[in-house]
Symmetry: D3
Subunit: 309 residues, 6 copies
């Protein structure tokens, strides 16, 4: 008849397909209460170094962040890059040295840290996010001096250890980051900071995320790691703790149920809660869409740490 | 052990449940390209009178509008209320008279129109939306004189018919509505307008939606009705037209394939397309979540009318 | 001579006419101190139901409001519509029931209330004001959930009475109304409110005006009624009280000099004064231009209630 | 009875007084259409030197300007001060010289001009206006270089005459004055200007007012003088021309009906009309409230000059 | 070869010239720490009457102010004009009378004060600054009623002396001046003020500068005079005090080392320091570029008065 | 005497020292016309790779940029890092390959490019600038997708050469950079860009600077290199061309007077001029303060290329 009309048979047989689409719409609607809850709220997500190494996991995590941004959440991504730093140091034959889990960071090492964090990881995350449009802006903590640090002092067995350019955050300039957020960009922050003399420091990424979340009174802080959360062993059976109070965490630490690598993460969570962050989570970044499930469904996933009250 | 710790068995047996949640996250992500496409865009939705009568359908449609608002779409809802007006007129023993589908609207009738549109329907839609928060603002076309009308002139068989207070829109004050939209409220508009002498007119809701969509260069105009779209009969079989050009519509009208009640809807769509609206849709408001499916999935639903080019 | 020159005799004989115009200019100047005093100040005017019924009085009152707006006063109009509600209920054969002056408002009744307030009265006031330009915007207390209510609890003789959808205001969202005022529109507010479940309540108009005036620290609240103010009888002679303190009012109530219908009005005034409103007035809306005389001249009119100090 | 209640007899005998106040309210309302017409519009008023000398007239004119400001008119006052300049020059034994009505302004003279305009007249007008609050800001045309001039060239009998520091306006910086107006101050401008070398020039006040009115597309320009307007003599009878076109003016000039001193005023009016000013008026500043009568009543007063079309 | 190429010999012989330019660049860089220190800070400079009389000195001082403005300092200039006032009074045969250094200012005198300050000095400074562009705006303290005064009461030998229109500042309207500063203009302020009755007062320029500096928490207040600073005599040798505390000043005053004319200047400095101004200076305006040297180099010049702590 | 008073002898013997300071003030004032000329103007400075290697030169160049920022110039710094990239590639045993001066940039190479540009050079420049306060923000051309590229196509001897991730700029998003500039930060930009698929490209730094300068209509573009400018040899004598037109450049290129490495720089300058940049300069970054001398003194330094007209 007329060439531009497309006609489809209409006989009710497509019910099955219709149901699929109706279900999809239904899922979107089920997310609505969660969307409302997080609308215009700040969520800080720390991307653990392990995720960087698994391209497929990373892509999925970044998709999650973009969705969060589009439904109105002000997402701040924070990343470190320990494994990649070690790798490049080894390539360059620089001695890799740790002290109680903290990298001893001399002149040569801090140069490698900057190279890896800014030139490799930050740049990669920003590029991947920006495939979807004008979304992300890469930031170093020393841009506009927005993260002010001091050299971390550390004592072991009563003796002071020189960790080199390992920093503690002493102040955060909210204005700079707010300008980025209010311009509707998703900031991706490398965990560097500077002091007034222009020294650059590497900061532990969990602590960095905690300090940012605290300063901005984030609704939620999520530490994306490569484990499912806090686990305890009861009668030879390993169990995941899905919800625990700060006080409970301290008991588990005392009982040595919380193991070495998990301690700084748990402490960062407790500190964030004390500073006004509503909820802190330890999630497995390799579990598909763990953040989305945590935020947009009623399923508890990973470990949620809550204030004592 | 310690009373605030909640422990769940972690043995991998919850795979099935996990999958359900992962699927939900997946659906959200599938919607992402559509969310991006409509982010900050204006979509005008005309709620047909039939939907008002079916509380369950209405609730679902309103849920859809709220979701659209939360994922960044600037939704403008437009409603008439023909059936309810007729009902109240009959209750009050006022003569109900139509001419070619247009209600002859004398002094008594326009008072009933205002009562029903503002006092019954508009108020009801706003209340239902606002159960979800500070979402909607009810608006009449004569607030701030924002819809300027003139008396519609109508000729039948060469003779001028006096339709009374039936209006044609001659101008729309964009500023007022923009202030509402930019304050992040969802305007719910009753299809009234006024002239410079303060006369109030009733305007056909399809035309009203079309004029608003045109003035604001809406991305999409959706006419929610109680039929599935344009249908044609081929060899005794009724088929739904899922996609048709403006030119195609005109041929169908000429061939009388498009029936009486559908003609003004189709013409409103064609006029909107000519005035810069990207897509016009005729959907069945009683099909569950038809708008969401249309906007957030790749399924074509109802009839989409597109520009000739 | 030349055709476009209009020439008038100038012989000093028009002195009488000149004086009339000079007097007019003089009156404008006499109003100047009052204009300065109210410049940019908020004045809340409650339009009593009786005024709605007398078209001529209403028009004059609305002229007064427009003048106030143009000389820089931020006017907020509040209206109820008791008489019209009763009338429509009777027409629809719905039982009209009062308890101590408060309308028992069941499901059917609240629908009538909405119809009358929004569809009849609010719409009418807005149309009449907008004959003069883009002046007024009609608002319901449940637009943007800006007036939050709860069900009014009421006890009589120790027994709780169910008044139905009669509400008490628990909160007012200042932002929404400020946006309307700062966009230079005159808001006309119907005395409805909503609770978090989406129930709509009817609120006593005097109380509503008082709560709005209190929330916005209005300079003045005016209750336009159909009586001249508070009257007392001394030795068989009826006298108008032109100025009285809150304390004085309470004595008059105790002495039963202030009669039943006047009590809620006087109480609304006293409450507004306690909450920071500077002056409260009870005026007769049928006295020509009583508001203008009150605001722009040095004549006290009606009853002014002042703070005890 | 109770000490704080003030009671007035209420016996209807005060009708006469009531009528007076109702009349006052009525006058305010009669002004409303005019208030609406000039709301937010710019009106430039040139205060002639003669008014400065009559304190009572000046006070009344300034009251008029303040009222205009309060009812929403953006008033710009412009003043010269020829008589006062001559007076001070004579006091200081400086030779006073004119050429075709223009003051020959050498070094000594321009210093006197500045002293009188800024130090005497401008300061006096600002002080008198500011008795009523934070109303006026005194401005010289060379503040922020906002009026750029060049030396006026003048030929007489084919010979170039050196008028000294008499200037012609070549440009006006709108921004500076707009900032003053938008901060809600009434600018009082002395008719000085400067060139790029920092020379200060005196500008004819009628021309200055015309150029300001033209640059700002004023709604109205009013030249307040000490005569009632343009007068013509018909059969020995002197008549006032109340309304005349630009073309008509030119004929009257040709016929020498418009006399020497009036010519520059009329030309300034014609030039303003050509440049988009809607109406130009020549009024007698000594007639009580002539501006108010002109703007807020329907009485034509003085001479109104209108565009030819 | 080709006509548009300009070629210079390049043989290293221009070393001497190169050094000169490199030195200039070096000087700019040496100023950098000072530029940073004063960036966006307010500096109030009082121009003493003596500078007005020496055109060459004045020009240099104004160049200094312009440079300060361009490198980001918010400069406020304040000037009096005692000598010029006396001169004009004498010319006009008005009796010049002082009481303890304060001019007795009757009706005639205040008119002369306004003439000289606004019409002569303010206008001159503004013109000279504006040779360099849209830089300065002349302001009188009674513009927008921004400096509110009261009549100064003064007692001598227990008897009240009537000083006439000599004022004390009781309030300063920050908004008006901030609007000028934020529009990037350099305000030049004549030391007049007004009371609520519209009386104009002359204010001591040192006190005026002090009150402005205090109200705006200026970084620095500079009193430009015609002496080098506070001097003391030790063993017949006159010495300049380059730095002194407020307490030290008081001792010097007690010891009569600080002489009559210097006392009000020193007291203005002490008062400014008490009110939050960081540094107060007394400099010789006739020393070339004394302000620039004080602000942009490490050389102390004149006398700096500092807080006791 | 009193302990807080510091006293200096004042005997005129410090004349020599005084002169030094007066000279310094004089130099600041000599810079004033240049400061005015560049106030609020954009200047793009490309920092050549050679400067990065000489810490002392770099520090001086950065001091110059900071001074420029503080006196009101909107500086945009652009840097590449060719030598450092080659160095790291060699360290990592990656084959270094060039084609007509352009680096063939495969997958491995672009990773090195990002590492060096972002992780080493950009980070270093930002840190050094931020020693002076909250001054600089490091930016990659793919932040917010602000520099959109396409793969550069290149033909040699009629055959297309695959240069890998070498990009040509096709669009620049002005908004992002304007936000940085208007927040008063000095952007330091690494010469990367991205396409819509998320590929990252390396862009020639001279071209990058030219495109940024063109897009922002910069007042000036400066290419800081390690040569003094364009040189020609006349009769065995080498001469520096201090000023040349675009046309002249083209002749010199034709005559092979402009050598290989200089050609792209000269072409970038010519292109910038065509696109509205006022002046383009080639300066030696190792000559002390060459930018400051160029901008703030009347000495021409290096080569200035001007438009043909």
């Amino acid at each position: 008849m007329m060439n531009k009309v497309v006609i489809e048979y209409y006989n009710g047989k497509e019910k099955a397909l219709d149901d699929i689409y109706a279900n999809k719409a239904q899922v979107l609607l089920e997310a609505l209460p969660y969307i409302k809850q997080y609308f215009n709220e700040i969520v800080v997500v720390k991307l653990g170094g392990a995720i960087m190494e698994d391209y497929k996991s990373l892509m999925k995590v970044l998709d999650d962040l973009i969705l969060m941004k589009y439904v109105g959440i002000k997402v701040i991504a924070v990343h470190g890059g320990g494994k990649q730093i070690t790798k490049l140091m080894e390539e360059k034959n620089i001695k890799v040295e740790f002290c109680d889990g903290m990298r001893v960071t001399n002149n040569e090492a801090i140069d490698i840290v900057k190279m890896v964090l800014l030139g490799e990881i930050n740049s990669k995350i920003v590029s991947l996010l920006n495939k979807h449009g004008k979304i992300a802006v890469g930031i170093s903590g020393n841009d506009a001096n927005f993260v002010i640090c001091r050299k971390k002092t550390y004592k072991k067995d009563g003796k002071e250890i020189d960790l080199g350019y390992v920093g503690e955050i002493v102040d955060i300039n909210k204005d700079f980051l707010l300008k980025i957020l209010n311009s509707d960009y998703l900031p991706v922050i490398a965990t560097l900071g500077s002091d007034s003399k222009g020294n650059i420091y590497n900061v532990n990424a969990d602590t960095f995320a905690c300090d940012i979340a605290s300063k901005f009174s984030a609704k939620k802080m999520v530490l994306l790691t490569d484990v499912d959360g806090i686990k305890v062993t009861e009668k030879t059976k390993e169990k995941l703790v899905s919800r625990i109070s700060a006080k409970g965490c301290n008991e588990l630490i005392k009982n040595k149920d919380i193991s070495k690598g998990m301690i700084p993460k748990v402490n960062a969570c407790i500190s964030a809660l004390k500073n006004g962050v509503e909820r802190a989570h330890i999630l497995n970044g390799n579990s598909e869409h763990s953040i989305l499930i945590e935020i947009f469904t009623d399923k508890g996933i990973g470990t949620m740490i809550v204030d004592d009250n």
